[in-house]
Symmetry: C2
Subunit: 332 residues, 2 copies
């Protein structure tokens, strides 16, 4: 080994972006990478990285397109989130062989807990309780509420989010728990039945609660179109915790306003954040949360993220294929 | 059989109180009781019953002490709810052998769904999301949230409510799910462990989430005293869906205001409804719902209620002991 090679080996660098890492997590990353000759530099989330990460081999964390463009020597970009469609533009990459991976799997539990919360708030008309109390009253006008028990639930997307949700909501004894995915051959014991996206039109009229856990890809954009929303029964509810682009938002809002749909709960909208006069903020029977289902401000997600990165790092340095590698052409 | 006996037999009457029964439910009751020579009369909830139900053998539904007092010939009073402490005063009963029963078991599922909703809203700081959105903003200030996954949950009361809750929350993988009951010998496979109320002081310091599902009895009044609230860890949460009297409410509010407790969610308070200036309405990190966990405005509870009454009626006319008979001295 020449001295130059040796020096190059000594300077293998990892740039880590994001404010979600405490002392403990930084130490875990450092003790994992140091034996392989890597050093770690930290940057705040969304720091303009021009020039700062030119020589980094690995870039990890809360990364936007600018960071990818600035990482001119990068061989592996690992996003600390699941949705990486903004990082799939090939022109961002100086090195076409640079690997992109995501952290799919780190957020399933926290997103599932948020989804169950939204679902129950919707079925139990919780905003009406809250309005009555804030007005100084007590019980709101008595209206029929729904229980998960006995309901027909359809989950669009049976990946990590859909599966974690299904595992939990099963314990509430829905009448039917159906998963819809691209490839219906792949069964999943967490669901009563799995069907293909081509059967969506047959499934929607028999759905009381539609839960959308889809990533943002070319195939999912606008999937719940006005025509498909119209196939849902009048008493049904729609919940979206995947990506806002998967629903025709104005069609959804008009279905809610006209009473053709019972209610909706959205953690994701399009665009984000919505303008102050966006009707998505002011529609009755719509519960909105500010894209917080899959957050990093909980112990569990942070532990999952670090474990996932360290495991992928070990595969990277051993030359094994990464478990969460993204096909940039497909977008997932 | 003399003609008088025959006539008396013909006029066996059931008075039913409450507006929760639709046509379908009334018909189910009528077809159940008619073969046994009973006729049914309906009264609105809380109708002053003076003179109207003098000759009724059975009184069923949304019954208060006035209805019990007015039912001078009653042999069986069946309340369409679980908590019947207001009906246990012996002086209400002209006939000391009159049976009192409740509808324990009809509400477990809807109360459990409400409890999971409250728990998740509390852990995920949902009121802060809501406040940020109502102010025209988007994400609230980033604070640590908690997941059910990995938390230590203690359930006070392992009857119908506690068991239905435990069955559901198990699917969220808490680190520990502990039930506390009067008689610890009675095990319950829905919990990791059952301990007796005498061990409460040892259990509270090791609890992240305390869920109270206790009935209103002499033994439960004030159970969560100031001293016991002080034993809960600073990061813990308290949820009460049983009866408001089981918590020292002013001690709870001061623990929340001083930050000695992370949060609380109450569906039941004392008194109800709280006055407009009651601090229970205006305490940060307290989520309040207006005693709606165990409601009758859902299909499932109504079906359960009618099934339960009809099954108890069959036992009554066959001379079998009722399954939900109340010991008025004990109050449950």
């Amino acid at each position: 080994m020449t001295e130059t090679q040796n020096r190059n080996k000594q300077v293998r660098k990892i740039a880590v972006f994001g404010d979600f890492l405490g002392e403990q997590e930084r130490r875990k990353i450092e003790t994992t990478v140091a034996p392989h000759g890597f050093s770690v530099q930290y940057h705040a989330r969304n720091t303009p990285p021009e020039g700062l990460i030119d020589d980094c081999e690995i870039v990890y964390g809360s990364i936007g397109p600018d960071a990818v463009r600035a990482a001119k020597s990068a061989r592996w970009i690992c996003a600390a989130r699941a949705g990486v469609n903004t990082l799939c533009d090939e022109s961002l990459y100086r090195n076409p062989d640079c690997i992109l991976s995501n952290s799919c799997g780190a957020y399933g539990v926290t997103v599932a807990e948020h989804t169950v919360m939204l679902l129950l708030m919707l079925l139990r008309r919780q905003p009406e309780n809250d309005t009555a109390l804030r007005a100084g009253g007590w019980k709101p006008e008595k209206k029929q509420i729904m229980t998960v028990s006995g309901s027909r639930i359809t989950v669009l997307g049976t990946g990590d989010l859909g599966s974690c949700f299904a595992e939990r909501i099963r314990a509430f004894h829905p009448k039917k728990l159906l998963g819809v995915r691209k490839n219906p051959e792949k069964q999943n014991p967490l669901f009563d039945e799995i069907c293909g996206i081509s059967e969506l039109e047959q499934v929607l009229p028999e759905t009381d609660i539609l839960v959308m856990c889809l990533p943002d890809t070319k195939e999912t954009a606008g999937l719940m179109s006005a025509e498909r929303i119209a196939l849902l029964p009048k008493e049904s509810c729609l919940i979206n915790v995947g990506r806002g682009t998967a629903v025709d938002q104005s069609a959804l809002l008009s279905a809610l306003s006209s009473g053709r749909l019972n209610g909706a709960a959205l953690d994701v909208v399009d665009p984000e954040p919505p303008a102050s006069d966006d009707p998505v903020r002011h529609t009755d029977s719509l519960i909105l949360t500010p894209h917080v289902a899959g957050n990093t401000n909980n112990r569990l997600s942070i532990d999952n993220l670090i474990d996932l990165f360290c495991a992928e790092f070990e595969r990277y340095v051993s030359g094994k294929p990464l478990l969460h590698r993204i096909d940039r052409k497909r977008g997932y």
